[in-house]
């Protein structure tokens, strides 16, 4: 078991996502920053879909009640193991009773903790990803415990990787989304020439951007949306749907973030700047 001594701001269990229920209105959920998680699961030679902890803004304090191996990735949060600083993208051996804690947020917004074999918490509809009310809880709280199976004598093929971090990147590459062609020249110009500020209304469901562009009166029938869809509201606000985003919507879908752009945005917090680039 991994015991949560202090939960931090918003710590959840996430895996690759909950698929095949979108036609029943169930968001896919899953890790917000797939690139960082792919790397730490690879280091531990885990399945790609192995469940990890997603740690947002302020990290938790955790005690391991069994031995295992871990790797951290994503945001830099001044992590320490038994009070000694540790780094991202490196495998560490964990003994029973070891304490992992996080300090100041240095860069990025979401940090990830993977254990060898992945966390083995309850699966609901084929996924361990938290999403209330599909799962009982929306996040971990103090004194919760998360299970994993003991792993001994793991000899990682690679124990550390240098990562070409995208935490400093702010250009979001996008493709066309279904209503791209009805955008006005002015809206297109605004979307692709301006710098946008991430609003404080940002979470796993959606990131709102503060600036408004030219409003519109387009009305459309409800149609499917996916993570990374950028919706344009009648008032001219851009809303980027993220992993817990609704599966259908009634606002024009202007552009669609690439997989990498979703990861870049997932590492932004309120007040950060982003811009769009059509590829």
């Amino acid at each position: 078991m991994l015991k949560i001594l202090k939960a931090g701001f918003y710590t959840t269990i996430q895996d690759a996502g909950r698929f095949d229920y979108r036609n029943k209105g169930v968001p896919v959920s899953g890790v917000m920053d797939e690139i960082s998680v792919f790397k730490i699961n690879s280091l531990l030679e885990n399945e790609e879909s192995a469940a990890v902890l997603e740690i947002t803004m302020t990290g938790p304090t955790l005690i391991f009640e069994k031995e295992t191996y871990i790797a951290l990735g994503g945001a830099k949060m001044s992590a320490t193991l038994n009070n000694l600083p540790i780094q991202n993208y490196k495998v560490y051996t964990i003994e029973k009773g070891d304490i992992l804690s996080f300090g100041k947020l240095e860069k990025g917004f979401r940090s990830y903790l993977a254990v060898k074999g992945g966390f083995t918490s309850e699966e609901v509809l084929g996924s361990r990803s938290f999403y209330q009310p599909i799962t009982k809880y929306n996040r971990l709280t103090d004194n919760d415990a998360v299970s994993f199976s003991v792993q001994q004598d793991f000899q990682p093929k690679i124990s550390e990787i240098k990562v070409d971090s995208f935490l400093n990147e702010s250009v979001l590459e996008v493709n066309k989304a279904p209503e791209f062609d009805i955008l006005t020249d002015k809206q297109l110009e605004e979307i692709f020439s301006r710098t946008f500020t991430v609003a404080h209304e940002n979470n796993r469901m959606a990131y709102q951007l503060s600036e408004t562009i030219q409003p519109h009166t387009v009305s459309m029938l409800t149609s499917a949306t996916i993570p990374g869809t950028v919706q344009l509201t009648p008032a001219g606000k851009l809303i980027v749907l993220m992993k817990d985003g609704q599966t259908t919507g009634g606002y024009p879908r202007a552009v669609q973030l690439t997989d990498k752009a979703i990861c870049i945005l997932a590492q932004k917090k309120g007040g950060d700047s982003v811009s769009f680039k059509l590829v």
């Binding site: 996502g17 698929f19 095949d20 229920y21 979108r22 036609n23 029943k24 209105g25 169930v26 968001p27 609901v124 509809l125 009310p133 599909i134 799962t135 493709n175 066309k176 989304a177 279904p178 062609d181 459309m220 029938l221 409800t222 149609s223 499917a224 996916i226 990374g228 869809t229 609704q246 599966t247 259908t248 919507g249 879908r253 669609q256 973030l257 690439t258 997989d259």
Partner: protein, 245 residues
């Protein structure tokens, strides 16, 4: 029979959207569901594919591969033109019990006033229609129901409620629906449905599918409470009637 025209649009690297004419029509919905069945059975059989129908569109997603839009688009046109008549799958009419008690029907009096009707007339209109499920989205199990009585159409509330309870039965514009879970909501709430529409503990968490029909019938508050208990312990089964194709 001539098939309604389709338009295929790119939607990022992993999906394409097929669109039918921009109207709420059962004929179009049938065509979409017919094409969806063909694609699911014959073409997109790999687990990486997911299809999401809604009103006049069908989204095709491949969660692992980058799609070649030009190729896929021309294939879809070809498959659509060659689409053959096939037996319709089983479709159901679900009859759902609703209590219109004022404890639940928070906006029932206001709706009646706005439409210059009595509460009884509003309830009769709401229970008198057969609704079609045109889409499921917004929340797990939230159905977009078409087929509302024209005289029951009214705008959504000017200010959404921060909290609408699970089971709340709402109307807004040309749509009717049920909030499957507690949520913020801007629809006019006229009653409460005792049957849970979404249950994550079941293998099929939502008994309703797009294309199904829904009818509401009136029950008392006391009966609502009983049904709710039955549903919680798992002995209540929603009433369904097979629709002849």
């Amino acid at each position: 029979m001539n098939s309604p025209k389709i338009n295929i649009k790119p939607f990022g690297a992993h999906s394409v959207l097929i669109e039918w004419p921009n109207e709420v029509s059962e004929i179009i919905l049938e065509k979409i569901l017919h094409f969806e069945r063909f694609l699911t059975k014959e073409v997109f059989t790999d687990k990486a594919w997911e299809l999401v129908p809604s009103y006049n569109s069908l989204l095709i997603i491949n969660r692992t591969k980058q799609l070649d839009f030009q190729k896929l688009s021309s294939d879809i046109h070809k498959w659509y033109i060659q689409l053959k008549e096939s037996p319709k799958p089983d479709r159901y009419l679900w009859r759902l019990p609703v209590s219109y008690d004022l404890e639940f029907g928070l906006d029932l009096e206001e709706v009646a006033n706005q439409l210059h009707k009595t509460k009884e007339e509003i309830i009769a209109m709401h229970t008198g229609a057969t609704y079609t499920v045109f889409g499921i989205g917004f929340l797990p199990g939230f159905m977009y129901l078409g087929g509302i009585d024209k005289e029951l159409e009214l705008p959504r509330k000017a200010t959404p409620r921060p909290k609408v309870i699970k089971g709340a039965v709402g109307i807004a514009g040309k749509q009717a629906g049920i909030y499957p879970q507690e949520s913020p909501g801007g629809w006019n709430i006229i009653g409460n449905c005792a049957v849970p529409i979404f249950d994550a503990t079941k293998e099929n968490p939502c008994f309703v599918s797009v294309g199904d029909k829904i009818e509401f019938y009136r029950i008392s508050k006391a009966e609502h409470d009983l049904r709710k208990i039955e549903a919680e312990v798992g002995i209540y089964k929603p009433e369904k009637i097979k629709i002849d194709a």
